[in-house]
Symmetry: C2
Subunit: 253 residues, 2 copies
């Protein structure tokens, strides 16, 4: 069975793209067949793998317009690792599908034509509207990167409420967990937010935390994951652990 995971948060800059790129890369290097989907018109995930979003190739938007042809939007990145890129045209999708009865299931219909993967990870934009709802409606699992800061923590209520609402159209949707990101043991704010999160969310907070590590921010300039960029860095080691924890937490089938 394919595990499908939407990585979502309406708070900007919390590490959604970094998580999808790096957890995806680690799962692939563990032998899992992985597909990443860039579902943000800003197309940072596409950029992060060194691709030009404006190159003349089909993107996730074309796949949504013609789901049976979705495979032609797939780009192979590494062994076991594929990507469906995005570009700014995707921003037009919200308006294009505004009157479609199945507007919330456009992405779900694409996934139905993408078979043979062990994992599909979707990178969402920093908003709560059409794209986040589509991403959550398309998958079985939601993963929330939680930057250990005040605004990101305060955004949780709203996000959990949206996940609850999407369950009405996608009863399979399950909360895989919350991963603490940009964790800096040296400052008190990290501890404050971590305590609040673990108290409120308990076991659904991953044990693995992703530390602040400049290598994570440098790797996308090279068009690669932090594991490839510098495998011994704190960031790379943490993402290996997080990928393993994602595998362990998989729903008992």
């Amino acid at each position: 069975m394919t595990r499908t995971i939407a990585v979502v948060s309406q708070k900007g800059g919390v590490g959604k793209t970094s998580l999808v790129q790096n957890v995806g890369a680690e799962l692939a290097s563990l032998g899992k067949r992985v597909l990443l989907i860039d579902f943000d018109p800003q197309s940072n995930l596409t950029l992060g793998w060194g691709l030009d979003p404006n190159a003349d190739r089909p993107t996730i938007y074309q796949a949504m317009l013609n789901p049976p042809g979705a495979l032609s939007s797939v780009v192979n990145l590494r062994p076991n690792l594929d990507l469906i890129p995005a570009n700014l045209d995707l921003a037009g999708a919200e308006l294009a599908f505004i009157n479609a009865i199945d507007r919330n299931n456009k992405l779900r219909k694409v996934l139905q034509h993408l078979l043979g993967y062990n994992f599909i990870l979707i990178d969402g934009p920093p908003s709560l509207g059409f794209f986040t709802v589509n991403a959550l409606a398309a998958v079985n699992e939601a993963l929330i990167p939680l930057q250990v800061q005040a605004y990101a923590y305060k955004a949780l209520d709203q996000l959990l409420a949206i996940i609850g609402q999407v369950r009405e159209i996608n009863p399979e949707l399950w909360m895989l967990g919350v991963a603490l990101t940009m964790y800096d043991r040296r400052n008190a704010l990290t501890g404050t937010v971590e305590d609040m999160a673990r108290q409120r969310l308990g076991e659904s907070v991953f044990k693995t935390v992703i530390p602040v590590n400049v290598r994570i921010a440098e790797a996308p300039l090279d068009g690669t994951s932090v594991g490839e960029y510098e495998a011994t860095s704190k960031g790379a080691v943490a993402y290996v652990q997080l990928a393993q924890e994602v595998m362990e937490r998989g729903r008992a089938e």
Copy 2:
């Protein structure tokens, strides 16, 4: 004359809200009459001043629905410093005004009823659509916080293109400048992005840079600016300098 400034970037988490809160607070403490407008449905600026977005009070959305009554949405924060708060209802504005002929000028009409300020600063959401266009259409100056990282730098092209397009409906719109944020002298990435930005944008990059400083992230938990939270911190000192540079760079009247 009132200087009106939109603080915009579609990249998430680059310091838009922090810049509006802290530059606004410093301008007010220099004796300028300042109005901040929270124009992000996530209402982080409202939260950052310790207010509950869900309290029963009019917000920027009510002001857009009835511009002549805009003053009733104004909340006084400190001497010389007012705020028009936001809440999640604002997310409904995009759809509510979708067929309005003046849809891009809804915020501009609000500002026409808010007189007597020396500065009006607008905090935008991390997207390029309705809200960012409205914010840019409403003001004379655009200020872009540029986090010194790869994705934020790559977002510049698109943002500058949008500012150019909005000039068609708002010929007064002028580029106040680009302020480097989350600057960390210890890592090479900061220097790489700074060099790229200064080479490409020259003088429009502010001399003042905003360093990574945890006090900036802690202050909103106390509902206050970094200057009030810890005036001697690196973050507070930098925001005093940035506010002064904003004042100096004002268009020659």
